[in-house]
Symmetry: C2
Subunit: 191 residues, 2 copies
DNA sequence: ATTCGCGGAGTGAACATTCATTCCGGAAAA
DNA sequence: TTTTCCGGAATGAATGTTCACTCCGCGAAT
């Protein structure tokens, strides 16, 4: 097995176990076993568990940004761009429930808060995209004149909630329901 | 110290520590210390840590239900009732950040998923109230005809998100902002 | 004197991390 | 070609730490 494959195996095993059981019920030993690797080997690729967790987050983040930008038309109307991004994001989560669950774990932990703070002040791939979208909407008076954070909450809050409910099996989101949900989010933020 | 006071002290210490640091960084020893109680004493009041965590959740849940029902006018219009409940809930969270953080921890853990499943199928104090409110809205064609879960997501998702952001210090929610947020939630679910 | 609530040291299990050792592939020596 | 040697990747038992939980002796109350 090539050395980079081993690294991937470890990341994938960590994704599965942490997404399913949470950070604290995913001991290194279990990750190693699922990756078919010795426990010590993990430390040849990652300095410690924290680094592993953070690198995995970064990898997922990048993957998602790439995913939702596929087919993005930067010149379409504000509303169309919003709908595209939101729909793509929701779809991505539905298609990649492990990724979603991992990101949720990450955000609801000390790891996530620091990240979130950064995103709001500095900037970052996909957050930035949404951010300028919303700012543009406010400037054009298409979107309610509320603080960015509140707009984020109105746009993302429901999205994440329905994604979670779908993944936990409380709803079955089909194409129509996805579209209606995204539309409702838009109704929430538009003037 | 009366024996029931001791019980309260333990619950309060657990609330503080778990809200601040999470379940896994709130060891029994620390809870005991903050409650000015021996570690063993905790086990005189709670069979084990899980029981403590669940009882604390129940207590907070009851407190919130009582809180948001204050001043509730069951005969006002659907929209007014929605606004009252949502505003009261958001206010409660803002005024009791520890409660909010605890509940978030709880929901984003194996504990919470079981609870959520119950609420959707069976019924429960405050969830039930919202539930019949939304169902009534759908029946009267005031509210979008979407699955209950999705409506919940649209109504609560943003609320929880802004509460979190306020508590983490990313926004300062004043009365006006609260009202606007609740209004935006209503815009999201109304037809 | 007897009971009872209490404290906190003690216990064993689980965990992240380390490190002495094994293993393997390829280069050098024969 | 065959054998020997070597560097470093991989390993998993050992280590030290942390935790939930137990247990036993103490002091207060009766």
């Amino acid at each position: 097995m090539a050395t980079s494959e081993k690294r991937q195996e470890i990341l994938h095993a960590a994704l599965e176990l942490i997404a399913e059981h949470g950070f604290h019920d995913a001991p290194i030993a279990a990750i190693a076993e699922r990756a078919s690797v010795g426990a010590g080997t993990i430390y040849r690729y990652f300095e410690n568990k924290d680094v592993l967790i953070n690198e995995l987050f970064q990898a997922l983040h990048d993957r998602i940004c790439a995913g939702i930008l596929k087919g993005y038309a930067p010149d379409s109307s504000l509303r169309e761009r919003f709908v595209h991004l939101s729909t793509a994001l929701l779809r991505y989560f539905i298609d990649n429930p492990l990724d979603f669950r991992y990101l949720e774990q990450y955000h609801n932990s000390p790891y996530g808060v620091a990240f979130r703070r950064d995103r709001l002040l500095g900037s970052e791939g996909n957050g930035d995209l949404y951010r300028s979208l919303l700012e543009e909407g406010v400037a054009q008076q298409i979107v309610k004149d509320l603080p960015l954070v509140v707009l984020f909450a109105l746009a993302f809050g429901p999205l994440l909630a329905v994604a979670r409910d779908h993944i936990l099996g409380f709803v079955e989101l089909d194409a129509s329901l996805i579209a209606q949900t995204v539309q409702a989010c838009w109704d929430g933020i538009k003037r």
